[in-house]
C-alpha cells in the first residue's frame, strides 16, 4: 500500500479536533459533577492547537497535493476554510458555556459535538473524493442534528431537530443517489480529478447530468437555498442560540466550500469540461429566488431568531450569485465567495452571540419588542448588535459591505449576470429595513421590562472578538482579501482537468 505515516501530517488539524472531541466526551462522563468550564477550556485549547496546525500548513499548501489515496486534498482553499471553521467552533464554545448554564441545561457533550462537526466540515473542505465528501457532510449533519435538539426541555428544540433530521436524511438520499449515478456513468470514477477527466464525455448522458443535479440539490439543501430551505426557520429558531450561530456560519461555509470545489472545477463553467450541463442557468434562478424569498419573509418576522434565519437564507442567495459567477468563468469569483463567507461567519456568530446574551432563564427575549431600550440599558451590547446588523445589511465600513462589494463586483464583470447583481443590490437595500428595525427598537424606544443580564467574561470576550473582527474586515480587509485570493486561486480553473 502506498501509505506512510508522513501523510498523516496532512490531517493533523482533523486529528486534533476529533481527538479533543473524544477526550471531552470521556472527560464529561468520568469527571462528573465538576465544573463544565473545564470542558470548555479543553475545547478552546483544541481549537487553538488546530488553528496553529492549520496556519503551519499554509505555506506548504501553495501547491496542491493529494494524500490518502486521493481522498484528501491539501490546498489553500481548504486551509482557509479550516481556519474559518476552527474560529467558528472557538467562538461557539465561548458563547455556549454561559448560555447553557443560564438556561439550565448543562450539556457537556455540546463542546465535543461542536468539535466533531468541525472535523466533519474539514473533511468536506478537503474532500477530493465523493466518499470523503459524503462522510464529511454526514459527520457535520449528524452533529448538527444533535446540537439542534440538545435542549431537551425545550419543545421547539426537539421539533427543530426532528425536522432538520428528516429533511437532512431526505437530502442525503439525493446526495448518495447522485454520487451513484456519477460513479456509474463515468465508469467507476469517485475522485474529483477522475470525474473531471470524463465529465465532458459523460455529460452527454442524461443519467450523469441527473446525478450532478442530485448532488447539487443535496448541497444547496445544506445552505438552505429556496426551495430546499423549509427546514431552516424551524431549526434555527428551535436550536439553542449558540448552536444556531454555529450552524448558520459553519455548516453553510462548509457546504459552499464543497460547491466551489465540485462545481467550480469538476463540473465547471465555460471553458471547462462539463459546461453543457447547464447548472449555471438554474443556479442563477435559485439565487434570485433565494435572496428574494429570504428577505421578503424576514420582513414580516417579529421573532428575531426567525428573522435572522430568513436573513441567513437570503445570504445564501447572495453567495449563490458568487457561485454563478464562478460558473460563468469569472476570475476571482471564488475568492469573493470565500471572503464573503469569512465576513458572514463572524457577523452571524456575533449576532447570535448577542441574542444568546440578552435572554435570561425562562425569558429568552426573542421578540423585537423585547429589545426596546437596550441602547440605554446596555450600551456596549447594543453597539455590538448594531455593528453586526449593519454588517449583515452591507453598510460600510463593516466587513459585510466588502463581502457584498467583492461578490457583486465579481458578478458585474459578466453582462449576463447584471440581472443577478441588480436583484442582489436591491435585496440588500431592502434587507437593511428589517435589520434597522432592531436598531430602532434598541435606541428609540424605552424598555418595557428591566434589561439586566448575567455576567459572563467568555461571552464578552467572544463578542468583543467578533465585533472587532467585523470592523477590521471593513477597515483593513487587505490581509484577509489576500488570503482569500490565494485560497480562491486553488479552486480556480485547474490546468489539465
Amino acid at each position: 500500500m502506498s501509505f506512510d505515516l508522513s501523510q498523516l501530517s496532512a490531517i493533523v488539524p482533523l486529528i486534533i479536533v476529533t481527538g479533543m472531541g473524544c477526550l471531552i466526551l470521556l472527560a464529561e462522563t468520568f469527571a462528573r459533577n465538576r465544573a463544565r468550564t473545564g470542558l470548555a477550556s479543553l475545547a478552546l485549547g483544541g481549537c487553538v492547537f488546530a488553528f496553529v496546525a492549520v496556519a503551519a500548513q499554509w505555506d506548504a499548501a501553495a501547491t496542491k497535493t493529494t494524500v490518502l489515496q486521493g481522498m484528501w486534498v491539501m490546498d489553500r482553499m481548504a486551509l482557509f476554510l479550516d481556519a474559518t471553521f476552527v474560529a467558528t467552533a472557538a467562538i461557539t464554545v465561548l458563547i455556549s458555556g454561559p448560555f447553557m448554564r443560564e438556561h439550565g441545561f448543562e450539556f457537556g457533550e455540546f463542546y465535543g459535538i461542536v468539535l466533531f462537526a468541525t472535523g466533519g466540515m474539514m473533511m468536506v473542505s478537503h474532500a477530493d473524493h465523493l466518499l470523503m465528501l459524503l462522510i464529511g457532510i454526514e459527520t457535520t449533519s449528524l452533529a448538527a442534528y444533535v446540537l439542534t435538539g440538545c435542549w431537551r426541555r425545550n419543545a421547539r428544540s426537539s421539533e427543530g431537530a426532528m425536522k432538520y433530521f428528516l429533511m437532512g436524511a431526505f437530502a442525503t438520499g439525493f446526495l448518495v443517489y447522485g454520487m451513484a449515478l456519477i460513479y456509474g456513468t463515468t465508469g467507476g470514477e469517485m475522485t474529483y480529478a477522475g470525474i473531471a477527466a470524463k465529465a465532458a464525455v459523460s455529460s452527454n448522458s442524461s443519467l450523469f447530468v441527473a446525478g450532478v443535479y442530485f448532488v447539487l440539490i443535496a448541497l444547496i439543501f445544506k445552505v438552505a437555498a429556496v426551495p430546499f430551505h423549509m427546514w431552516a426557520p424551524d431549526t434555527y429558531e428551535g436550536a439553542p442560540t449558540p448552536a444556531t450561530g454555529f450552524m448558520a456560519a459553519g455548516v453553510k461555509a462548509a457546504a459552499f466550500g464543497a460547491i466551489l470545489r465540485l462545481f467550480g472545477t469538476v463540473f465547471g463553467g465555460p471553458g471547462l469540461p462539463g459546461e453543457p450541463i447547464g447548472w449555471v442557468r438554474i443556479l442563477a434562478t435559485v439565487a434570485i429566488l433565494t435572496m428574494t424569498f429570504g428577505n421578503l419573509a424576514a420582513l414580516r418576522q417579529e421573532n428575531i431568531k426567525r428573522m435572522l434565519a430568513y436573513s441567513s437564507i437570503a445570504h445564501a442567495g447572495y453567495l449563490l450569485v458568487g457561485v454563478v459567477a464562478v460558473g460563468v468563468g469569472i476570475a476571482g469569483a471564488q475568492s469573493a465567495v470565500l471572503f464573503y463567507l469569512v465576513t458572514y461567519t463572524f457577523t452571524t456568530l456575533g449576532v447570535f452571540g448577542v441574542i444568546a446574551w440578552v435572554g435570561k432563564r425562562g425569558d429568552e427575549r426573542l421578540f423585537v419588542d423585547d429589545w426596546a431600550g437596550l441602547g440605554t440599558a446596555r450600551p456596549a451590547l447594543a453597539l455590538a448588535m448594531t455593528i453586526f446588523l449593519l454588517s449583515l445589511g452591507g453598510v460600510p465600513p463593516t466587513g459585510g459591505f466588502f463581502g457584498k462589494f467583492y461578490l457583486f463586483r465579481a458578478a458585474m464583470q459578466s453582462p449576463e449576470l447584471y440581472p443577478l447583481v441588480i436583484a442582489g443590490v436591491l435585496n440588500s437595500v431592502v434587507s437593511v429595513y428589517y435589520y434597522l428595525r432592531v436598531v430602532v427598537a434598541m435606541y428609540f424606544r424605552d424598555a418595557t421590562r428591566p434589561l439586566d443580564s448575567y455576567p459572563s467574561a467568555s461571552m464578552r470576550a467572544a463578542l468583543v472578538l467578533t465585533a472587532i473582527a467585523v470592523v477590521v474586515l471593513g477597515l483593513f480587509p487587505g490581509a484577509v482579501v489576500d488570503w482569500a485570493g490565494g485560497a480562491g486561486a486553488a479552486v480556480a480553473k485547474v490546468a489539465g482537468l
Binding site: 429533511m167 452527454n204 440539490i217 438554474i282 465600513p397 447583481v421 428609540f444 483593513f476 487587505g478
Partner: protein, 738 residues
C-alpha cells in the same frame, strides 16, 4: 502635496466618541464645549489647509492624504485617502463653519433637553461623516460618508423618538435614501467595470480621455457613461430630495430645528449636487444624462416652490423651499455650470441655515408652535431675529447685492448660454432657464408671504403665548447675525466680474476652475437680460405677496382662495404626492404581498398539497400519517416539488423564438445560432426547407445552406433537439423566393 487632511474628519469623530462614552458624566457646559471645540478646530484646520497649503498645490490636483491602503486585490486598489481640491475645500469650509455656528446655536436651543450629550455626539458624528463624504478620494470612501450621514440624519430625525411622527419620518427618510443608495452602488459597480478604477481623479481622467469602456454603446443605444451617470443621479436625487424622491425631506422637519438647519438644509442634502459636480467630466460625456439632471432639477425647483405657497407650518415652508433651491443647484450642474451650482450651494447654505435658525428662534419665542397663521407682528418683539430673517429673505428672493441674487443669476444665465446638450437637445437650456425664472418668481412670492405673515401686522396668537414672546439668548442670536452677514455679502465672492471685464473678480469661479473647468462663457447681452429679469421677478414676487399678505391676511388673499378653492386645496395638500405613492406603490405592494401569501400559503401549500388528485394525495397522505410530525410532510413535499422544478428547468426544450434567414437569389442561408435558450447546450438541428417532411440538412451545426429549384413561397421548418433529454422544439418561417 500632502497635508494631514485626516485631522479634519477625525476631530469631530473624536468629539463624538468622547461624548458617547463619557457624555453622561459631564456637565452641560463641558458637553457643548467639547462638541464646539471639536468642530471649531476642524474648521481652523480646514481653513489652514484651504488658504495656506492648497494654493501651492492647485496645479497638482490638490492636497492628498493617504491614510492606509484600504483594500487591494488584483486589479482593484482603493486607499482610504482624502483629497482637498478647491471643490472639496469649499465644501469643507461650508460644513465646518456653518457646523460650528449651529453647534453654538444648539447650546442655547437644546438647553432644556434631557439627552444633551447624545444630541451633540450625533451632531459631531454627522459632521465627521459629512467631511468624509466630501474629502473622500474614491467612490467607496465617499460611500462610507454617504451612508454615515444617512444614518446620522436618521438618528437625529428620530431624536425625539417618543413621538410616532418622528419615528415614521425617520423611517420614510431611510427608505427613500436606500433607493438612492441602490443607484449609487450600481453606478459605482458600473463605473468600475468600465474604467477599472474607483478613484475620482481616475474616473474623471478616464472620462476626459473618452475611455472606450465609457463611450461604448450599451443598453437602449446609450453609452455606458449615460447609465453610470443616471444611476449615480438616482443616488443623488435620493440624498438631495429631487423628484420623485423628495418626499422624505419635508417630513424630516420633525427633528430638532438645528438639525434641520445643518443636515436638511445646509450640508447633507447638498451631497448629491456635490457628487454630480465632482464627477462632472463623466456627466459631460453624456448630454442625455445632463439633460435629465437639468430637467429634473428645474421641475423640482418650480414644483416644490408652488407647494410652498400654501404651507402653514414655518419649517414646512422652509423645507419645500430647500427642495426647490436644491432643484436650482441641480439645474446648474446639469447645464454644465458646475461652478454656479456649487456657488448656489454655498450661498444657500448661509441663507437657508439662517432662515432655519430664525425659525427655531421664532418657535422658541412662540412656545414651540410653528403655525404661521397664528403669528404676525413679531418684528417688534424679537428685533434681532427679525433683522436676520429680513436679510436672509432678501437673499433667497434674489434681490440684487444679496448673495442669492448672484448665484441664482449665474445658474439662470448659464442655462440660457450653455452648449453642453449639443444639437438635438439644444432646447433643454432655454426651457430650463425659463422654468427657473418662473420658479424664482414663486420663491420670491412664498418667502415674502412667510415674511409678511410672521413679522408684519398684528399678532394673531392667543394671549398666553403672546405674553411669553421673548428674544432668544445670545448664543442663539450670535450665530444668527454671523449667518446674516454671510447671506448678505457672501455672494460677492462669486461676483460676475466678466461683466466689467474683470474675470478675476469672480474669486470662487477662479478657485474652482482647475477642478470643474472654466466658467461658462456667458454673452454680455444674456447676462444683463437675465439680471434684469431676475431682479424684476424678485420684486414682482415681493410686491404681489405684499398685496396679498402685507400686515396679515388681506382681502385679495381671501378672494383668491375663494375663487379657486380646488387649486388651493390641492397645493395645500402638496399635490397629494404622498397619497399618489400610497395608491400606486404602497398599496399594490401590500396587495401583492397579501396575494402571494394567499397563493403560496393558502393555495399552493394547503390546497395543492392536500387536494391534488388521488394518487399524489395517497402517497403524501400515507407519508403524512407515517411521519406524524407537524408540518414536516409539507416541507418534504416542497422539497420534492423543488427537485421536480429543477429537473423541469434542466430538461426544458430549448425555447427559440426565431431564426435568421438570408436570401440570395434562389439560395437561402439559415442561421439558428443564438436563439434564446440554446446557449451552452449541445443540440441537434434538423432543417426541412420545403416543410414537406423530408429533412434536408441535419446535424449539430446550427447553420445550413440550401438552393431552391424554383421561385415561389416556401416554409422553412427547423427542429431543434436536445439529445440528452429527447426534447425538441419546432420553428417555422415563410420565405418568398423570386
Amino acid at each position: 502635496m500632502s497635508f494631514s487632511l485626516r485631522l479634519i474628519p477625525l476631530l469631530p469623530f473624536a468629539g463624538a466618541t468622547v461624548l458617547l462614552l463619557f457624555g453622561r458624566a459631564f456637565s452641560r457646559q463641558w458637553v457643548h464645549l467639547i462638541a464646539c471645540l471639536a468642530i471649531g478646530t476642524a474648521f481652523l484646520v480646514s481653513a489652514d489647509a484651504f488658504f495656506t497649503a492648497l494654493p501651492a498645490a492647485h496645479e497638482s490636483g490638490g492636497l492628498h492624504d493617504i491614510v492606509w491602503a484600504w483594500f487591494a486585490s488584483g486589479d482593484l486598489k482603493v486607499d482610504l485617502a482624502f483629497r482637498m481640491d478647491a471643490l472639496s475645500g469649499v465644501m469643507c469650509l461650508i460644513i465646518t463653519f456653518i457646523g460650528t455656528l449651529i453647534h453654538i446655536y444648539s447650546a442655547g436651543y437644546m438647553s432644556h433637553e434631557k439627552d444633551y450629550a447624545r444630541f451633540f455626539a450625533y451632531l459631531n458624528l454627522f459632521c465627521g461623516a459629512m467631511l468624509i463624504l466630501v474629502l473622500g478620494d474614491s467612490l467607496p470612501v465617499m460611500f462610507v460618508g454617504w451612508e454615515g450621514v444617512g444614518l446620522c440624519s436618521y438618528l437625529l430625525i428620530g431624536f425625539w423618538y417618543g413621538q410616532t411622527a418622528n419615528a415614521n419620518a425617520g423611517k420614510k427618510a431611510f427608505i427613500t435614501n436606500r433607493i438612492g443608495d441602490f443607484g449609487f452602488l450600481l453606478g459605482m459597480f458600473l463605473l468600475f467595470s468600465a474604467t477599472n478604477t474607483l478613484d475620482m481623479p481616475g474616473i474623471n481622467a478616464a472620462a476626459k480621455a473618452g475611455a472606450a469602456g465609457l463611450t461604448e454603446i450599451s443598453w437602449m443605444g446609450q453609452p455606458v457613461a449615460f447609465w453610470a451617470a443616471l444611476f449615480l443621479f438616482v443616488g443623488a436625487a435620493g440624498k438631495s430630495a429631487q423628484i420623485p424622491l423628495y418626499v422624505w425631506l419635508p417630513d424630516a422637519m420633525a427633528g430638532p430645528t438645528p438639525v434641520s438647519a445643518l443636515i436638511h438644509a445646509a450640508t447633507m442634502v447638498t451631497a448629491g449636487v456635490y457628487m454630480v459636480a465632482r464627477l462632472g467630466a463623466l456627466y459631460l460625456l453624456s448630454p442625455a444624462a445632463m439633460a435629465i439632471v437639468a430637467l429634473v432639477g428645474a421641475a423640482t425647483a418650480i414644483f416644490a416652490a408652488i407647494i410652498g405657497f400654501a404651507q402653514n407650518d414655518f419649517k414646512k415652508v422652509l423645507a419645500y423651499s430647500t427642495v426647490s433651491q436644491l432643484g436650482f443647484m441641480f439645474a446648474g450642474v446639469g447645464t454644465g455650470a458646475f461652478g454656479s451650482g456649487v456657488f448656489h450651494l454655498y450661498t444657500h447654505a448661509f441663507f437657508k441655515a439662517g432662515l432655519f435658525l430664525c425659525a427655531g428662534s421664532v418657535m422658541h419665542a412662540m412656545s414651540g408652535s410653528g403655525d404661521i397663521t397664528k403669528m404676525g407682528g413679531l418684528g417688534r418683539k424679537i428685533p434681532w431675529t427679525h433683522r436676520v430673517f429680513f436679510v436672509c429673505w432678501l437673499a433667497i428672493c434674489g434681490v440684487p447685492i444679496f448673495s442669492g441674487f448672484f448665484s441664482k443669476d449665474a445658474i439662470v444665465a448659464g442655462a440660457f448660454a450653455t452648449h453642453v446638450f449639443g444639437e438635438s437637445l439644444s432646447w433643454v437650456g432655454p426651457v430650463v432657464g425659463t422654468v427657473l425664472l418662473l420658479a424664482a418668481l414663486c420663491t420670491s412670492f412664498y418667502m415674502s408671504r412667510l415674511y409678511f405673515l410672521v413679522f408684519s401686522g398684528e399678532c394673531r396668537a392667543d394671549h398666553e403665548t403672546q405674553h411669553h414672546i421673548h428674544e432668544s439668548p445670545i448664543e442663539m442670536v450670535g450665530p444668527l447675525v454671523v449667518l446674516a452677514v454671510g447671506a448678505g455679502l457672501g455672494g460677492l465672492i462669486g461676483f460676475p466680474g466678466g461683466l466689467f471685464g474683470h474675470e478675476e473678480w469672480n474669486l470662487l469661479g477662479h478657485w474652482l476652475e482647475p477642478v470643474v473647468g472654466p466658467e461658462l462663457h456667458i454673452p454680455h447681452a444674456v447676462e444683463v437680460t437675465v439680471m434684469a429679469a431676475s431682479t424684476a421677478v424678485a420684486f414682482v414676487g415681493i410686491f404681489l405677496a405684499r398685496a396679498f399678505f402685507g400686515g396679515g391676511y388681506r382681502e385679495p388673499a381671501h378672494q383668491f382662495a375663494r375663487s379657486m378653492p380646488g387649486f388651493v386645496a390641492l397645493v395645500r395638500d402638496k399635490f397629494r404626492v404622498d397619497e399618489l405613492y400610497n395608491f400606486f406603490i404602497v398599496r399594490p405592494l401590500r396587495f401583492v404581498s397579501r396575494g402571494l401569501f394567499v397563493i403560496v400559503d393558502r393555495i399552493v401549500i394547503d390546497k395543492a398539497m392536500v387536494e391534488v388528485p388521488a394518487a399524489i394525495v395517497g402517497v403524501f397522505g400515507r407519508a403524512a400519517r407515517w411521519f406524524q410530525a407537524g408540518d414536516a410532510q409539507r416541507y418534504l413535499a416542497t422539497f420534492a416539488i423543488g427537485v421536480a422544478a429543477i429537473f423541469y428547468l434542466a430538461t426544458r426544450p430549448p425555447a427559440p423564438d426565431a431564426f435568421k434567414v438570408t436570401i440570395q437569389g434562389t439560395a437561402v442561408d439559415v442561421d439558428a445560432r443564438g436563439v434564446a435558450g440554446t446557449a451552452g447546450r449541445t443540440l441537434l438541428y434538423d432543417f426541412d426547407f420545403e416543410a414537406d417532411g423530408t429533412v434536408d440538412r441535419k446535424g449539430s451545426s446550427p447553420t445550413a445552406h440550401f438552393v431552391y429549384e424554383g421561385t415561389g413561397t416556401y416554409v422553412i421548418r427547423v427542429t431543434i433537439k436536445d439529445p440528452r433529454w429527447g426534447t425538441s422544439t419546432r420553428l417555422e418561417q415563410k420565405v418568398r423566393i423570386q
